[in-house]
């Protein structure tokens, strides 16, 4: 029996076949998937904010921030036996759900999350294979570690696979 492993808001989790992993209702948040195609293991994080350094309190929720999430996913995959050189990434999300005339920094959070995730992937030398980011629609995403396919569902634009 295959199961769907859920990743909540600011959450982080691992998956291996036959299970798949999914997170629902990504708005300005970014779903980050790191995977090892050969070993068929993958992890997903639901990132809310770009940088943990901006934060006063020391929250322990590693999936919440782009920097800590990429770091934690990488460590978790290595621990599970993934080889550092074959880890790849796919990302989706980072939409701007509301359009405002006053463009405060908080309103631009979607694009900032995407930028930060890309930056930290780069720092680890993890290639970004495909992405579906921006726009103004919420997304539900599901990753299958068996074929490394990421299925993206939106309310108005249907389903696509990257």
């Amino acid at each position: 029996m295959s199961e769907i492993i859920k990743v909540g808001i600011a959450d982080i989790n691992l998956v291996s076949p036959p299970d798949t992993i999914r997170t629902t209702g990504l708005g300005s948040c970014v779903g980050v998937i790191l995977y090892d195609e050969g070993k068929k293991i993958a992890g997903m994080a639901h990132v809310m904010l770009p940088e943990s350094a901006l934060i006063k309190s020391n929250t322990t929720n590693l999936g919440k921030f782009a920097d800590t999430a990429v770091n934690a996913l990488y460590d978790m995959l290595i621990k599970k036996g993934a080889s550092a050189k074959s880890i790849k990434a796919k990302i989706a999300g980072g939409a701007q759900m509301f359009q405002f005339s006053s463009g405060s920094e908080m309103m631009r959070i979607g694009p900032r999350n995407v930028e930060s995730v890309k930056l930290h992937l780069n720092q680890f030398g993890i290639p970004l294979i495909s992405s579906d980011v921006g726009g103004n629609s919420g997304r539900t995403i599901e990753f299958d570690p068996l074929n490394s396919q990421l299925t993206i569902k939106t309310v108005n634009k249907g389903t696509k696979i990257i």
Binding site: G27, T59, F100
Partner: protein, 210 residues
Amino acid sequence: MDFTKINHIHLDILREIGNIGAGHAATALSTMLNKAVDMKVPSVNVISFDEITEMVGGSENIVASVFLRIVGDAPGCMFFMLPIEQAEKLLGDLLGGEAVQLTEGVHSEMTISALQEVGNILSGSYLTSFSDFTGLNLQPSVPATSIDMAGAILSFGLLEISAVSDFAIVIDTAFTDIKKLDEVKGHFFLLPDPESFAKIFNALGVPMDE
């Protein structure tokens, strides 16, 4: 954000804000629709992010929502959220019995504008009474609308609080039809920014350190 300093009196205060605010908004809605609208006793909860989306039927549930930022003495976020079929009914009533469809992604400008205006009037009356009750200076931003997954919309209101906590205080008031009390028509969510709580409690003479 230290939730341990918040006691039951503080929660009562927040509940009362929800009560007065949503009460005024319900009256405004009732006037607009020319029929009775009832509301449930507001709930004030300290809950995790995932639990918030459960309150509107799950993260993937499609809702029509109006969002606005509160600026001034006690900043925060406010959402007026309706299940899609309730929004269609409400806007249909408002636009003189016209059949309104929101799900297919083809929203007429008129419909969206009507939704925005409803949100504007309702949140305006909520906020005015909130401001009167506390004596705090509060203004709404221009409202923004979105018809999408509840999780995608609500998480936007959690950004400020998520920077300091894994939990949020949500003041939720549900609307119902006066004849069908079980049928929830919509929700009002008030999500004060973390630093606003102390200001609200101070304004009402119940500081958080005591």
